[in-house]
């Protein structure tokens, strides 16, 4: 098969676009609001000063999160392409940065889908309370059938494999349908649904006995925490991961925006919606934890947890104990599924768009090939008895040495080596209502790299000083350090593979006309 017939014309296909600013904003919020908002933020805030965390959080949002979000928007929207081609159009030498981001997305998509599959099963389990009175034992033992020691095995766990297959089928259908009929439509259905379900969950949690104690634990400020640099680092770290900045998603989505769009005005809505959802999640999660603590006759600090422990151990326990628990379980796990799917499709779109650009393929061929490939990797490696160890390790290393290190290198290259910030600032200010001038450049070139350097180095020190989670050295070496290094090597290799003669890198009249028009506008 050389190409899809309908796309096999001499004139390149027009680039897809979001049909309105509203749909772009919905899709970008869908991407930013993910599992982390629900299961990570509440704990991070609680653990880093409670109510006092609001200050470093807002400072990090305004001085690093939003500026970096606008950097991604500017690159994607000005150069109208997937990350590799967009960075290549910025400067030939910057192309590997784009491939690095594409590869990071590949790793994330492969394991992220697995957590969605677990959540899907737990939505059903909410009715049966399959975990009985031992949620922890059930999750790791009966449900995941986790092996004694990390390794790579091919003992498949059907109760994870089949829901994962279902998730991939659904996601591939969305990807094939494209930006308007797939991604826009999925987000315009799932995101409102997620908000309504989550609001109901929060309301129900607030009426549980003990909720007030949970909220006390969450909001009581520990002002002394503000003097701790670790708290500020946690705020910057959380903001980076929460906004999905720095690994190609926002570059890709903004490349589908129409030319005359208010980038910064839209971005502010996206950024604050993401934070608004997090605050809501904090209230809901801590109200529920307050109930759990009261039911157990313990303090909130004894039951508080995050991530997998919060979602698949604490919440099942709450579902079993709360009145109308099944309803609460459906709302919680359903929210995880919807929040996860809208993020997963944005991660996949980065890879699909890059393959389309590099090979000059049409939407259908690229999305089936790419999503299919990620699905095969995901289905082969993760729904196994050792899958949890692999998931944990790849997540930890791709976050630290894929997303964070990648964002650092990208920012330093753009701001300090190529010195493109004035160009990008001018692009942001052409149409946008909120202007990004000198202070934006200072934040992107100064505050952002400093925060990222701190994060990367502290991660490096902690991961080099002890073997991650006490897993075997060969395992962490191969799937942690090895995987992270392989992404860089592969990114360079992909850069050296020539762009197809059908690629838009060689022939893109649509982009050329945009460049021409912008040159005219600037001359006026």
């Amino acid at each position: 098969m050389s190409s899809i017939p309908s796309h096999n014309t001499s004139a390149p296909v027009r680039r897809e676009t979001f049909s309105s600013r509203r749909l772009f904003i919905l899709s970008a919020i869908g991407s930013a609001v993910g599992l982390g908002n629900i299961w990570r933020f509440p704990y991070i805030a609680y653990d880093n000063g409670g109510g006092a965390f609001l200050i470093p959080y807002l400072v990090a949002l305004l001085t690093a999160g939003i500026p970096l979000l606008f950097l991604d928007y500017a690159v994607g929207h000005k150069f109208r392409a997937s990350p590799p081609l967009a960075y290549r159009r910025l400067h030939r030498a910057a192309e590997p940065l784009g491939w690095w981001q594409v590869l990071v997305c590949f790793v994330i998509a492969a394991y992220y889908a697995v957590i969605i599959a677990w959540s899907l099963m737990y939505t059903i389990f909410s009715f049966t309370e399959a975990w009985g009175d031992d949620a922890e034992g059930y999750f790791f033992g009966n449900f995941l059938q986790v092996a004694e020691a990390p390794g790579i095995g091919f003992t498949y766990v059907p109760s994870v494999f089949f829901p994962l297959l279902l998730i991939w089928v659904a996601v591939i259908i969305i990807m094939v349908a494209g930006i308007r009929k797939g991604i826009s439509r999925a987000n315009s259905i799932l995101l409102p649904l997620l908000v309504v379900m989550f609001l109901l969950l929060v309301l129900q949690s607030l009426f549980l006995p003990g909720a007030a104690e949970g909220l006390n634990a969450f909001f009581t400020p520990d002002w002394a925490a503000l003097a701790d640099p670790g708290v500020w680092a946690a705020a910057y770290g959380h903001i980076f991961f929460s906004l999905s900045v720095g690994y190609g998603i926002m570059v890709t989505y903004s490349s589908y925006l129409k030319r005359r769009t208010d980038l910064t005005g839209s971005g502010m809505v996206v950024a604050f919606s993401n934070s608004a959802f997090e605050i809501l999640a904090g209230i809901g999660v801590f109200a529920a934890l307050g109930f759990m603590a009261q039911a157990a006759g313990a303090g909130v600090n004894d039951v508080v947890t995050q991530g997998i422990g919060l979602a698949f151990v604490a919440f099942p326990t709450i579902v079993s104990q709360a009145p109308f628990g099944a309803f609460m379980g459906v709302l919680f796990f359903g929210s995880l599924v919807f929040a996860g799917v809208t993020s997963l499709i944005s991660v996949l779109e980065v890879i699909v768009a890059a393959v389309q650009d590099k090979l000059g393929w049409g939407r259908i061929k690229a999305s089936v090939t790419v999503s299919g490939l990620v699905a095969v990797v995901s289905l082969a490696l993760f729904p196994t008895a050792t899958g949890l160890y692999l998931l944990d390790t790849s997540d930890a290393f791709v976050n630290s040495f894929g997303i964070t290190l990648g964002a650092l290198v990208t920012v330093v290259v753009i701001a300090w080596f190529l010195r493109k910030l004035p160009l990008l600032s001018a692009h942001l200010n052409r149409i946008s209502t909120i202007k990004m001038r000198r202070s934006w450049m200072v934040l992107v070139a100064g505050v952002v790299p400093l925060a990222l350097i701190y994060m990367v180095s502290s991660e490096f020190i902690s991961k080099i000083s002890t073997t991650y989670e006490g897993y075997p050295a060969w395992f962490v070496g191969l799937f942690g350090w090895g995987m992270a290094a392989a992404l860089v090597v592969l990114a360079l290799a992909l850069t050296f593979i020539p762009w197809s003669h059908r690629s838009k890198a060689h022939n893109d009249p649509e982009y050329d006309s945009v460049v021409e028009e912008e040159a005219k506008e600037t001359a006026q």
Binding site: R14, T17, S19, S20, R21, G50, G51, A52, L54, L58, R180, A212, L215, N216, F218, F219, T220, P221, K258, R259, R260, T261, D262, G265, S266, M268, V269, A271, F272, S273, S275, A276, E278, I279, I283, I431, T433, I434
Partner: protein, 45 residues
């Protein structure tokens, strides 16, 4: 809930959700520039 926790909850809601309200207001006051949008080829629905 304790008074300080209630206060911090209100401050958090006001700043973050207030920020969202302001961002939405700003966007609403600057509607999309439909006239300047590039022509799209007719697409089947």
């Amino acid at each position: 809930m304790t008074p300080i926790a209630i206060t911090m909850m209100i401050v958090a809601i006001l700043t973050v959700w207030g920020g969202l309200a302001l961002a939405l207001l700003n966007l609403q006051r600057h509607p999309e520039d439909e006239g300047a949008l590039p022509e799209e080829p007719a697409r089947e629905l």
